[in-house]
């Protein structure tokens, strides 16, 4: 009888399980040194990852649909997370433009438009590539059209960095606010357990 109940319960839970919002890495990855900066020249480096949770998203400012949608969804998800974790555990959100040529003067305004605390940074190509590779992310600038406009393909998932500066998880679309917040809160509980042993 008990196993039938368990089976019924697990079947009931399946629709929720089908929508995976995040994946925790079995083996967290240490991030290398990098230097990026916002449009005002303030640097954002590996040191800024210490002692706080960070969410890093790659994108570009000319992105009409997916980037605004993702940043808007992250804003909702962070607001939900703030209801579940201590204030100093609310992740900082960093938007990294992979299109510095077009975005170096606007990237910070762009990110702050979605939330005043969101950071927008970009930088030299090799520094962007360092962070992209270290977080197992991807981007590609497509060839320009006749007007010189070019499209940028990029990873849709975003990276979650722990207070130890290690890549610990990936969040995936659709970034449902409640489920993403739940995932982040659980990730933090697991992290604290592992680090207080």
């Amino acid at each position: 009888m008990r196993w039938i109940l368990a089976l019924a319960t697990s079947l009931l839970c399946m629709p929720a399980m089908a929508q995976v919002q995040g994946v925790a890495l079995d083996r967290p990855v240490a991030l290398p040194a990098f230097v990026l900066s916002d449009q005002r020249g303030e640097t954002f480096t590996q040191a800024d990852l210490a002692e706080r949770w960070t969410i890093i998203m790659f994108g570009f400012n000319s992105c009409p649909d997916v980037c605004p949608f993702t940043l808007g969804n992250l804003e909702h998800a962070i607001a939900e997370t703030a209801l579940r974790v201590r204030p100093d555990n609310v992740p900082q959100v960093v938007f990294v433009s992979v299109d510095p040529v077009r975005d170096h003067d606007t990237v910070t305004d762009y990110a702050e438009f979605f939330h005043p605390d969101f950071q927008g940074v970009t930088g030299a190509r090799d520094q962007i590539d360092t962070l992209v590779e270290a977080t197992d992310s991807f981007y590609r600038l497509l060839p320009p059209d006749a007007t010189g406009y070019y499209e940028v393909q990029h990873s849709s998932a975003v990276s979650v960095i722990g207070p130890d500066g290690m890549l610990r998880a990936k969040l995936q679309p659709p970034f449902d606010a409640g489920l993403t917040a739940e995932f982040l809160a659980r990730l933090q509980i697991t992290y604290r357990r592992e680090n207080t042993r």
Binding site: P64, G72, H154
Partner: protein
């Protein structure tokens, strides 16, 4: 009566009717500063008896406007131009974040409260639509 007229006037910018085509909730999230492109969304319903195809769009105040589709190919966000969206009789298509959308490029000025769009159909018909600009954090 005046109240009814006011209500109609309020509703008119958001709903457009044409021969056999109904547009629902045309809107555009306010564009972030520095955005050289942003998007507009709506539903397009074919209330007629024959299949229709949306083949293009024009936008007042923009250098270019395209029909586009965002796709997620194994974790890579990609956009592709769409040349034609078929709408069967009685069917609706949704232009919505993360999918089909109208891509508005090269804005000549920051968008005001509404954006004047013209949808172009394969049979030559054009439908004028006013998309309402909403703050990015407004409930959709």
């Amino acid at each position: 009566m005046i109240r009814l007229l006011t209500l109609l006037a309020l509703l008119l910018p958001t709903v457009a009717f044409a021969d056999g085509i109904t547009i629902g909730d045309p809107w555009s999230p306010a564009a972030p500063p520095g955005a050289r492109a942003h998007a507009a969304y709506m539903t397009v319903t074919n209330t007629g008896a024959t299949p229709r195809a949306l083949i293009g769009v024009r936008a007042e105040g923009y250098g270019m406007a395209h029909l586009h589709e965002s796709r997620d190919n194994e974790g890579i966000a990609t956009m592709v131009p769409v040349h034609q969206i078929e709408i069967a009789p009685g069917a609706s298509i949704a232009l919505a974040p993360g999918g089909f959308h109208i891509m508005l490029m090269m804005p000549r000025a920051p968008a005001s409260e509404t954006i004047a769009l013209t949808l172009v159909f394969a049979d030559g018909e054009e439908v004028a639509v006013r998309a309402v600009v909403r703050p990015h954090n407004a409930p959709s």
